[in-house]
């Protein structure tokens, strides 16, 4: 866990209790998945990510300006499948501001097996304004946010750009009884995944690893986790399709360049370790 500075001792103990007995690297990996699927991807409880006893890296849940806009890219493959209609139908409703149709779609999505209480990875809107304004915003946001799993040559991925405020997240979190609703992500808030990169504890927020090599720490995108939000029609601010895969890249280069940027941003030259 040397690379991960934000996991508290209490959470580490909970994790270790789950992975105890792992004998090989693959064992450990699978038990990490078990931990994530059991205690983070939860149905209607609070995930470990926000439980006070695990001392999450609270991003100031109580003090954030409530009017700040948050954005998140959602794949619509499964929601549209459950709705039983294609993206074009949703687009028509979106363009026509047909709230009943949008609400009908969201009701199905919100009450399906997709929308459990796992933490949501998200970013501040004002950090991705250029990407949002681009004609190919789905791919641009995918690349900037490091959503490597939204990438395929053959199959387009319908996506929605969701936008909402701190206030809305806080209101729903209060209903859930969550004292902490915004936290910096840790390695335990995801399955083991080479596109996740922990950030030094001295940096506010996490830092998403983009799908293109970064040249400058200013290119780093702050990422956060927040508690579940029930989507409403006004949260959909864009509909599109990820039609092109991300540019070919070398994972080692991505990670090493990202590490350097994070070290510069945090002033922590000792943070982490380059991939040889």
């Amino acid at each position: 866990m040397d690379f991960e500075e934000r996991v508290s001792a209490a959470r580490l103990a909970a994790f270790e209790a789950e992975v105890r007995g792992a004998e090989t690297a693959n064992d450990l990996r699978e038990r990490h998945v078990d931990y994530f699927e059991t205690f983070v991807t939860v149905t209607d409880d609070l995930p470990h990510s926000f439980l006070p006893e695990f001392e999450p890296a609270d991003l100031g849940s109580g003090s954030l300006d409530e009017h700040q806009a948050i954005v998140r890219v959602e794949s619509l493959v499964r929601p549209l499948g459950k709705w039983g209609q294609p993206l074009d139908d949703l687009k028509r409703a979106f363009d026509a501001k047909d709230e009943p149709v949008l609400r009908g779609f969201l009701d199905i999505w919100n009450t399906s097996n997709i929308r459990d209480h796992r933490p949501a990875f998200a970013a501040w809107r004002d950090q991705v304004l250029d990407e949002i304004a681009a004609p190919n915003w789905p791919e641009r946001l995918r690349d900037r946010m490091g959503l490597a799993h939204y990438s395929d040559k053959r199959l387009p991925i319908p996506v929605a750009l969701m936008q909402y405020t701190v206030r809305e997240v806080k209101a729903e979190a209060a209903d859930l009884g969550a004292a902490i609703m915004f936290a910096a992500p840790t390695v335990l808030d995801s399955v083991p995944w080479e596109y996740f990169f922990p950030a030094p504890a001295t940096l506010p927020y996490g830092r998403a690893m983009a799908l293109m090599p970064v040249d400058d720490e200013k290119q780093l995108l702050a990422e956060m986790l927040h508690t579940r939000l029930t989507y409403l029609p006004h949260h959909i601010v864009g509909l599109g399709t990820i039609a092109a895969p991300s540019a070919p890249h070398c994972l080692k280069e991505l990670r090493n360049r990202h590490l350097l940027a994070v070290q510069v941003a945090s002033g922590r030259g000792d943070f982490g370790e380059e991939m040889p």
Partner: protein, 723 residues
Amino acid sequence: MALAAVHGSPTRHPWLDLFVQSPIAAFGDLLAGYARIPPYERADAPDAARMLFGGLPKSDPARCALGPAILGWLEQRRRVTPPVGRPRQQRWVREICEAFEIVALLEVADAAETLRRQFVTWSEWAARFVLSPARDARAEYLRMVALTQPLVAALAGPRDPNDLAPMWLEICRQAGAELPRRYLAIGLLGLRRLQQGTTGSDAPWVAGLAHWALARSPTNAEFQAEWLALKPLYPRTAGRWRELVGRLLATKPFQDEGIKAPGWWRGDRDFDPMLRQDFRVSGAPLRSPFPADCDQEIERLHNPWPVTESRIDQLLQRHRTYVGVTGEGQYFVRAIHALGTALIWPGNDQPHDRARKAAVLAHEGLGWAPFDRYLWSLWRDAMAAGGALEAAELIGWDFVRRDPDNADARNQLATLLAGPLARPAEAETLLRDTIAAFPGNAFARTQLAELLIADRRLVDAEAVVQSAFAAQAADEATFALRARLQSHRGAAQAAMDTVRQGLERHPSNDVLWEYQRILDQGRVLRVDPVAAAPIAAPIADTTPDDPTLAPVLRLGRVRWLRAQADSADPARRQTALAEVQAMLADDPSFVYAELIAARHGLLAFNPDTMPPFAVAFEQALKDGDRTRLDALAERQPRLRALILLAQALFGDAQAAWTIANLLNDDPPVEEARPVTFLRSRLHPLLAQATADTALGIIAAKSNAIRRWLYDANESLPGQRIAA
């Protein structure tokens, strides 16, 4: 790591080769999140599966192996005990949900067809795993079935591609009551995915919406939200909508409730013209074929079968069109019953083909009226007439199980056992059991006496007749029977006295008048039993090759085993329970077998592993565990009466008094059927009970009450919409 393989997005992911080598295990890894599928590890299994399999040609080995892998994994999971504790259970349920979801998302036709064909098994199993909206295996199973209807129809799977239409309508009706409100979207989705052009409506979901509104009385805003969420997806002119809705609301179910068009559609401006006094719905009014149309066909049944069948099909297709538009099945059901009953009456050509047709129609009718007693009888009798005696018997047993308040179902089954099946001893046992369960039922007593006469056990027969009089369960047939027996043993005066007493009570009974005439002439009455209604001579006993029949036959078999397990003969009991255990070894999630095993202490039961309600109730009843009963009452509030009665059996005076009070209340409109059954059994006992006497009355009848609880609980498994 060489990333070209990942980010160059080759047409085929290398993991697929591993998958082909060991499909079930690899699919399990995919669902569990273990699969090494960079960069898709972060994706949920359905998204990952789409990326991996979605672009493959149908002939790709991995694509070919996907369906069997999903089915294999689901079969394995169905045989494994779920984990303990909510955190692990929610993951367990999630994986099941996602397996079903992948079938629909990737249109895995072979898996969809199998899961649909084994509907009862999978829906009942999935119903165990409802933890929350986000972990609801039943919802995901039903949604998968809804979405894959066109896929399955293209495979020519079900006989009728729209055979689930009545279930989708029922889900709409139950959404917000027996089922969570969110199920309305699933019911409507099912209707939206029916085969176009065969339902009689171009928008059958409109009927679903109307039936939901009729059953649930939503607010105007709630209804409009549902209506307007779908309306734009089905572009129609305003006039066409008015026509569809106007014709729908003019049908009986809505007229009976005083719904005037546009009904719930008031508020949508497209329907404003309907508010005018002079508005007339365009198009011919929807109308079901008349009963006279059916009578006309019955009069022509003597025609050659090919001609007759064609005419019947035409008539029933008109019914189907009406049902498809309105969702109202009562006329269809009546026509099926009338036609089917006439079809199995002997005397025409191709009797077995006619009987099979009647069986198929009865089954179709049960889709619209799952508890219709006439249709269950018809189904059983048509099977027998078609030569499928074993299937007929098992349908008969399942009918007894599903409808425990129906003595006729038992009596008719006894007729089948004693006659075509040539098992009079079992018929006798069943009839004696029926007399114990329904002491006021005269027919069971008469039938038993006739059975004994046929076996030349005249003394036993007379004892049965005497007991009928003692129990005040004698009708005109009982008088006639006693007279026959008395006359036969030479007690002419006693026989005449019996006939006269019978005529005082039943002066219009022709048989008694005839007996009086015979006795007046000094002749002896014949004691031979009255012949049962004839059925066509069975050909070889064959079970039809109909996959939808299998679940019913299996349930019927267990009901028969239950009867054997109740036997006083230890050897029969042991053999029956061994078969139940063998069934469970073959399918550990077979609820009805679990229930019987629990009753007899054969189940390794753990209340923390999400057992079905019926099994958990049975075990708590056996263990006398009031804490677990309380927990079950929270899980199934509609079945609270079962819990209260069980608690009263364990000495809870408050529960006994609550039950007595509930019996004095009017039953709720949608009372659960097992509760209605208990109401009918308990009412005579507890109608006059007080707070001081209720518990004592229940204690005095504890054996009978325990049996009623068994019967009520046993009626739960195998429902179309599993609870």
